[in-house]
Amino acid sequence: MENEDQQQSSRPFWSGALTFGLVSIPVNLYPANRSSRVSLRMIGPSGAPVSRRYYSPETGKELEAEDLARGYEWEDGRYILVSDEELERVAPEKSRTIDLRRFVRTDAIPPLFFERSYFLAPGEASARAYRLLASSMEETGRAGVATFVMRGKEYLVAIFAENGILRAEALRFREEIRSPQDVGLPEPEAPDARKTAKFEKAIAANWSPRLKREAMRDRKAERTLQLIERKRKKREDVVHNAAETTPSKVVDLLSVLKKSLAEAGDKPKGNRRATPKKQRKPTRARAR
């Protein structure tokens, strides 16, 4: 899946502002999805965890973050370097603001468009404006639609309000979506009435009044955890590594969000900033 492990960090994935008319609302964006797959680490023959390092196959040297650059392969083996600064300056406004100029009915967006969810937490001194926007969107049953640039990629987003919380649903662009004709599906035939009736009966027989969360479980993860538990009890293949000092990389996204929502006040902290904070982290290269 595309970009599954976007981040497991307590820092916002993006910081900027929502603009609603002339009102600018500083916000911090966090992913609303976390990876559930039982997180397994790689362990070497010594029993210590193994980590991945970048190196140059030319020189054999190990590379640190400052030795790395992002390049686009223009011709075979010829790369054009593109810096974070250039990527931001290609569209500076869009890199900082989500400009809500259009509101649509929340059910007006076809399911094919939805790609990924993020939560927006109010940034510095913006709690009141944030709550105001959320309540008016909930009252009117509308979602705001806009495009913005995050980490070197443009996103089409629909901002939804639910329980006073703003959520950004990243949508696909029209040009990324195939139609049944693009795929080459046959023209729909007039459905056979007898067959349709038979299917309708089968649908009714398998009807469920509400979604059972049970049905959404990750069974593979459960089987993996059961195996781990059996082996742990039997003390089979258990290694201790007291010297292991690298802190666990898994961050509880829920507690990060709760904290950022609770901290959001109306009063600016320290110096008042008229501008939203710049993206703190450099755009990450999407290399693979």
Binding site: L40, E73, R89, A127, D192, E200, L211
Partner: protein, 262 residues
Amino acid sequence: MARAIWKGEVTFDGVRLPVKLYSGVEDRTIRFHLLDKHTLTRVKQRLVDSETGEEVPSDQVRKGYEVESGTFVLLDDEELNRLEPEASRAIEIEQFLKAGTIKHQWYDRPYYLGPDGGAAEYFALAEAMERRRSEAVARWVMRKREYLGALRSENGYLMLMTLRRAEEVLSARELPAPAGRPPDAKERAIASQLVAALEDEFRPEDYRDEYRERVMKLIEAKAHGEKPRLKVVRARPKAGSLRAMLEASLKAAKSRQEVAAA
């Protein structure tokens, strides 16, 4: 015509409907590579022991699950392979629900289903689901991986959206409302009017990934040895009181509407 990526059978209650699966989307992200700044060549990754810093060949690496801090239970590939579900062609329908029950946050990737062989049954199921205003939860195993999905009927065709799992989706209901003083009634009234004034249809054709085009232009210019001209970051507009800004915004939105209506 797109190539089918998999063949399966929608299965429930004695029904077996052979279908082909096609991707519903195309990825158009610009692909960058990570380079060594000094040599301008692609970098590679290797595995090193976190304590000794020595390289570890990949066939000597086992997977470990940290049961408590510093204690790992190790699993080898054979054990992990045995956890994979058995290969099958069945797309098992677990339950039918009112269409729209499965929220957007669950959606991962959309696929079209097309008939594999006779189309009569296929279009009859699409029609039956449409008439019952229903969607369904489905499970299937494709290329050794277990998938969870939503079967839907869209404009006469069947679609299968892969879904995230319960543990992967954070719900807004688990979160507290933001702290601070709630907005007053007058502010809320103006804000709702402003939302109404900006109301429109969802028109996906109005949005293009312009940024992608601009980045490609930048790359092209640099490839031809040109110095790209980039925009200077512009200053932010001034701030006023929330109420005053809302009122001014509403006025501006309304006058735009009048111009459009005239």
